[in-house]
């Protein structure tokens, strides 16, 4: 089958957003299809051009293609009779970011009209697709809430699972992702303070706001755990991410919208300690076998203690987590089978 993978493109941006699309094309080719990656530029810079850019995509035509797989807004709006959408990047400003502190569209007549147009276009033109897949159950619920469209969950596998490894079960638990002082970072520091063991905490990722790092340091100081909390407050390169995962005792998960972090933990033979089921890829977490799902900071402290007191338990959980992922349906073969059926 000749398959065009349609993704959005941020021109001259070093962001990682095209990588999964490239991996999908490789997977399609590995399964005997001809795949072409087509990236349509999209800039969020000025709200008044968002609708123009949606219109641009609707004015394009694709011939000589048996199937279109749409991944990102607005590229996934392209007209084609054989279209399947795997919604990896919707325009969140029109969805759940509207009305939040980080809202990017202005709450003006223009902003409101752009938002309404995006939701209407998604409803109408995603509705043309034969099937819609989403990357997580949360994304599926959101799509239904805002547009009424139904979808199926298709978890994006890791691009390169073989890159992850397990070196040891070191003396730290790892919290990866944007470093934020309000929720995740705070909960992680508070949990380590409640833990009775000597476990250390490593928080790694770029800070969400400028003063987040100082706020977290203050908090650790006040709780008397400054010497047990390490902040790596910058964007983590792939190799460093692999290394941190390879040597940690376990992974703390406060949010994993596309399931990447949980899969990386499993692939590194590490247990995932999830703060509420929706915080991780729950299908991979069997409480007490491959990790733990807790509902309070105190519970998280206890879960950290259980694994830091006994490296053998951490290893047993980690091995079970690895097996769970290997036996799961999360794989590029599954993705190809779904998108081409």
């Amino acid at each position: 089958m000749k398959i065009a993978v349609l993704d959005s493109q941020t021109v001259l941006s070093p962001r990682r957003d095209g990588l999964l699309a490239g991996r999908l094309c490789e997977a399609l080719a590995e399964h005997g299809h001809s795949a072409a990656l087509i990236r349509i530029p999209f800039s969020e810079r000025s709200p008044q051009t968002v609708v123009d850019q949606m219109l641009a995509v609707r004015l394009l035509h694709l011939h000589n293609v048996d199937r279109v797989v749409g991944l990102g807004f607005p590229a996934y709006l392209i007209p084609h009779g054989e279209k399947v959408v795997w919604m990896l990047r919707e325009f969140r400003e029109a969805y759940d970011r509207w009305g939040t502190a980080g809202q990017g569209l202005p709450n003006t007549p223009l902003g409101r009209s752009v938002r309404a147009s995006v939701l209407a276009a998604d409803q109408e033109y995603l509705g043309e697709a034969q099937r819609i897949y989403v990357r997580s159950s949360g994304a599926g619920r959101r799509l239904t809430d805002y547009t009424g469209l139904q979808s199926q969950v298709l978890h994006p596998p890791l691009r390169d699972p073989g890159a992850f490894r397990c070196d040891s079960y070191g003396d730290y638990v790892l919290a990866l992702g944007p470093v934020g002082a309000d929720s995740c970072g705070r909960a992680a520091v508070e949990a380590i303070a409640l833990a009775q063991s000597a476990a250390r905490l490593v928080i790694a990722g770029s800070p969400e706001r400028r003063d987040d790092v100082a706020a977290l340091r203050d908090l650790a100081e006040r709780l008397g755990v400054a010497d047990r909390v390490e902040l790596i407050a910058h964007d983590i390169a792939e190799a460093e991410r692999v290394r941190l995962l390879a040597a940690c005792r376990a992974v703390l998960c406060f949010g994993d919208p596309d399931g990447r972090l949980t899969q990386e933990a499993c692939q590194s033979h590490k247990a995932t300690l999830a703060f509420a089921p929706e915080c991780a890829l729950a299908a991979l977490i069997d409480d007490g076998v491959t990790g733990a799902i807790v509902s309070s900071i105190a519970g998280l402290g206890l879960a950290i203690d259980a694994l830091s007191d006994d490296a053998a338990t951490a290893e047993r959980y980690g091995d079970a987590a690895f097996d769970r992922l290997a036996r799961s349906e999360i794989s590029w073969s599954t993705v190809v089978a779904e998108l081409t059926k």
Binding site: L12, F42, A56, H61
Partner: protein, 345 residues
Amino acid sequence: MRVVVASTFVPFIEGGSQMIVTDLVDALRLREHEVDTVAIPTISHWDVLLEEALAMRLLEVGHGSDVLIAIRPPSYVLRHPNKRLWFIHHHRGAYDLWGTQWQDFPPGPDGVAMRDAVHRFDDLYLAESKRIFTNSQTVADRLASFNGVDADVLYPPLGHPERFYWSAPEDYVFYPCRITSHKRQRLAVEAAGHLETDARVVIAGVPEHPGELAALTSLIAERGLERRVTLMPRWISESEKAELTARSLAVLYLPFDEDSYGYVSLEASHARKAIITCSDSGGALELVRDGDNGLVVDPDPVSLAAAIDRLAADPQLATSLGARAHQVLAEKDITWDRVVDSLTS
């Protein structure tokens, strides 16, 4: 410099324009420019030309870049304050091919209206460009006569000239090119029927349509030319092409009225091989001069066969024409340094 190279393409069809984009991006990166590519799919059917141009106009690609280099139509419709064009062809059905069998607009008022619209948006958006270069004098002349636009010629070099080399000529002339009617592989096959020396013809390339391959195959069979003509109707790797070029007596490039000199002639020149082309081949004539770096023949089988026979009977002539072909590259300064300087300065 932060550079955006923009073009259009048809998915799953490899074309020369994609090669220009890839090679240009490599050349820019090698000279430490920060580069991104914008490649928009188009179908270029007459009835959607306005929609596709409007789509280009509505896209946002310019922010954060110092220069936008537009290649294939209608990418020059994209908005950018510092737009440079490396213009490789018009939508030719609306211009020089209008009124010929290749006019891809219907006769009647709808076709005329759309043709006029194409002319208007070309005039409008070509005028926005800071500099316009073309890949050949032929295309520059068309821009001058149809759109009143001045353009400089910037010949596209090969991406990897070092792959091509010379070795002692054998008994065949080589025509490596996509197999399609206007490249006239048929003419090469017909010429093989008139050869008086032992020379052979080797044709290699991907057939654009199964019908074109079938026509060639049956022509070879009808005229009993199986031993004279070797047909390789498939994609050949760069190294295979380089080897077949190196061992050839000369290289054929026989398109009808092509815009540019064609990569085939350039590859031959790098391999120090003479080029045989036709007096109506278009851009190839900007590179090939009869008796200097190749032979220019009338587009008929007898004339072509005579030229092949001439080189087969006089391999020294083939060698000296080939040596000149290599010199002509330097004389015309067909280099990436020149291209990058022109497009970014």
